[in-house]
């Protein structure tokens, strides 16, 4: 089998409290492993605080992982020196959730789009401008946007600029962190469709982060369900929706209104709140809200087990999760 473009193994991130204060360590990620094959889209879903952004940023080393490996083209990024890492950054780009915070208010769109090319010393000034203009065209923005400032554009247009910036470097991997969720509902679909088209047209490999299972189903080949910094279930997209195995995934899916009344799932409401990642439950982190939790669940951390080819779940009660 072909080597995946991105291969994450045992990724763990603990945030130490800032300064000299003695607050608790936040366990944002705990032993996360997954692959992103070339040309595929892998989705990361989970509630707020489940560690989606932390995974996305750790993968690009915008956050330094506490431990674990991030192999990109077979190279372990976590072992690279700062200078070597800077060279790798050309091939991997991040798309931010908030299009208002992600564009500098003091730069023109042209400067924003050529910034990466300049940093990576790609081509001459003219070539850089040309590539930036091509990227602008790829996201359906007019060429006269080049001389303007970000504040002149709407949220949706700004997000297109953000996407154009990440495309300008012609990366192999794109991490899109909830690229549509800060936008108007009417614009969200446009942005997701644009990303989908670009991904197919340019053969991009993408890690697509979202808290919305419906969006993920549409755009992703594989879906990873996260809860409190751990993977609960990982499966090919159709399988996850057709045959969810983990109690958490089932609960999430049952919360989506189903347009087909014959297949109406029994709606499960999750009780309680997500526990604090500073003090996660022992054993299965989901047990405080799981309708099937038994005493055993507090004792062991459920390993991620393969239930069918490419379909993994982390639950020890096989009698309920199959």
């Amino acid at each position: 089998m072909e080597e995946p473009l991105l291969s994450v193994r045992g990724l763990t991130k603990h945030f130490k409290p800032a300064g000299f204060s003695r607050g608790a360590v936040v366990r944002a990620l705990e032993d996360v492993s997954f692959d992103v094959p070339r040309g595929k889209v892998v989705g990361l879903v989970g509630e707020s605080g489940s560690g989606k952004t932390t995974i996305g940023r750790s993968v690009l080393r915008l956050v330094e992982p506490t431990s674990g490996e991030v192999r990109f083209n077979g190279i372990d990024l976590t072992k690279l020196s700062a200078a070597e890492m800077r060279r790798q950054r050309k091939s991997m780009q991040y798309i931010f959730q908030d299009p208002f915070a992600s564009l500098s208010p003091r730069m023109t769109i042209g400067q924003i789009l050529t910034e990466g090319l300049e940093i990576q010393r790609v081509g001459t000034r003219q070539e850089r401008t040309q590539r930036a203009k091509a990227a602008l065209e790829a996201v359906d923005l007019p060429a006269d946007a080049f001389e303007r400032y970000a504040h002149e554009f709407s949220g949706g247009q700004r997000q297109r600029i953000g996407i154009a910036r990440s495309l300008a470097l012609e990366p192999q991997l794109i991490v899109a962190d909830e690229p549509a969720s800060a936008l108007d509902v009417s614009i969200q679909a446009q942005i997701v469709n644009l990303l989908r088209d670009l991904q197919i047209r340019l053969g991009l490999t993408m890690l697509f982060i979202s808290h919305d299972l419906a969006v993920v189903e549409y755009i992703c080949d594989t879906v990873i369900v996260l809860y409190l910094g751990r993977i609960m279930e990982l499966a090919p997209s159709e399988q996850l929706y057709a045959d969810p195995r983990h109690p958490y995934t089932r609960a999430l899916l049952s919360a989506i209104p189903n347009p087909d009344p014959t297949k109406c799932r029994t709606r499960q409401i999750l009780k309680g709140d997500i526990p604090s990642p500073a003090n996660p439950p022992s054993g299965c982190v989901f047990r405080t809200r799981c309708p099937y939790a038994v005493e055993r669940c507090a004792g062991v951390v459920p390993p991620l087990e393969e239930v069918s080819p490419g379909h993994f779940k982390a639950c020890i009660r096989h009698e309920v999760s199959g």
Binding site: L62, R87, S104, R106, I119, E152
Partner: protein, 293 residues
């Protein structure tokens, strides 16, 4: 509102918009005009004024203002107007240079502090705290008595006294900036320290730097005057506004030869006030809240 050819406000960059707000501020414009007039006079006086600052006229000691000596003469017969202009050159030179030096030191210390680890940052900030809590007058006197008098020592003393405030503001701004998504984006594209500092850090500190520089120039003029008045700044026969006031401080001069202290004092107050108006205007113009209107 504006001429049809003008670019609409929303099409301009943030600095252009701030300057656009500045020119609508009457007091600031008045301050700027007064300052420019003073500056032009100071710079060009040798071309159109008959006397030089150290030219002694023994036939005209302590003479009051007249057609030939507009601002009168001092106790050794030197022309007060010429000394005032020359003193203005020295005072402004000292102020501008010391502010430029403290801008560079303040920005760099703030920058180093903001991206170094906890220990270095902590150490630098304690040093800054110390420098800020020491009574400035005492610090000034101690420094001045160590480095001595003259133009360069005076510049050094004033610079050393003023950078800590700036470095604190720059550090706070850079720390905030570091977490902003567009800076993370630049890091994600492989930006090194130089790019981050000069393409993102500096432009986003420009408001702090401009306002600080303006207000600090006024402050430095006063510091120089204070030092020279105490005999620790610019030493005679070189003229400065401070040492002209110093020379005129005896009771007899204060009472009988009013022009010898009134003109340097007036020049000092007018210049400092004018610069302060400009500084206040710039501060309002760069206030991020005014962008929302």
């Amino acid at each position: 509102m504006s001429a049809p050819a003008a670019i609409p406000a929303s099409r301009r960059g943030p600095i252009a918009r701030a300057l656009g707000r500045f020119v609508t501020n009457r007091m600031a414009l008045l301050g700027l005009t007064v300052f420019i007039v003073i500056l032009m006079a100071i710079l060009s006086y040798p071309l159109w004024w008959a006397y030089t600052p150290n030219q002694i006229d023994l036939r005209a000691l302590n003479k009051g203002p007249s057609a030939s000596h507009w601002f009168g003469t001092d106790g050794v017969g030197r022309d007060v107007f010429a000394r005032l202009m020359q003193g203005g050159r020295i005072s402004l030179l000292v102020a501008v240079t010391s502010v430029a030096v403290s801008l560079v030191i303040g920005f760099l210390v703030g920058a180093v502090s903001s991206f170094s680890g906890r220990v270095v940052d902590g150490a630098i900030m304690r040093l800054v705290d110390l420098a800020m809590t020491l009574p400035p007058v005492i610090l000034l006197l101690v420094l001045a008595s160590i480095v001595g008098t003259g133009i360069v020592p005076t510049i050094a003393v004033i610079s050393l006294l003023s950078w800590p405030v700036l470095s604190r503001m720059v550090r706070a701004r850079l720390l905030e900036l570091r977490e902003r998504d567009f800076v993370v984006a630049a890091r994600g594209m492989g930006a090194g320290m130089g790019h981050l500092l000069f393409r993102h850090g500096l432009p986003n500190c420009i408001d702090i730097l401009v306002v600080y520089a303006t207000l600090q120039i006024a402050n430095a003029i006063l510091l120089e005057a204070g030092l020279s008045f105490l005999g620790l700044g610019i030493a005679p026969p070189e003229a400065s506004w401070g040492n002209m006031l110093n020379a005129a401080r005896s009771t007899s001069v204060l009472e009988q030869y009013v022009w010898q202290w009134m003109f340097p004092g007036g020049a000092l107050v007018t210049t400092v006030l004018a610069i302060n108006f400009v500084g206040d205007g710039l501060r309002d113009a760069f206030d991020p809240r005014s962008d929302l209107q």
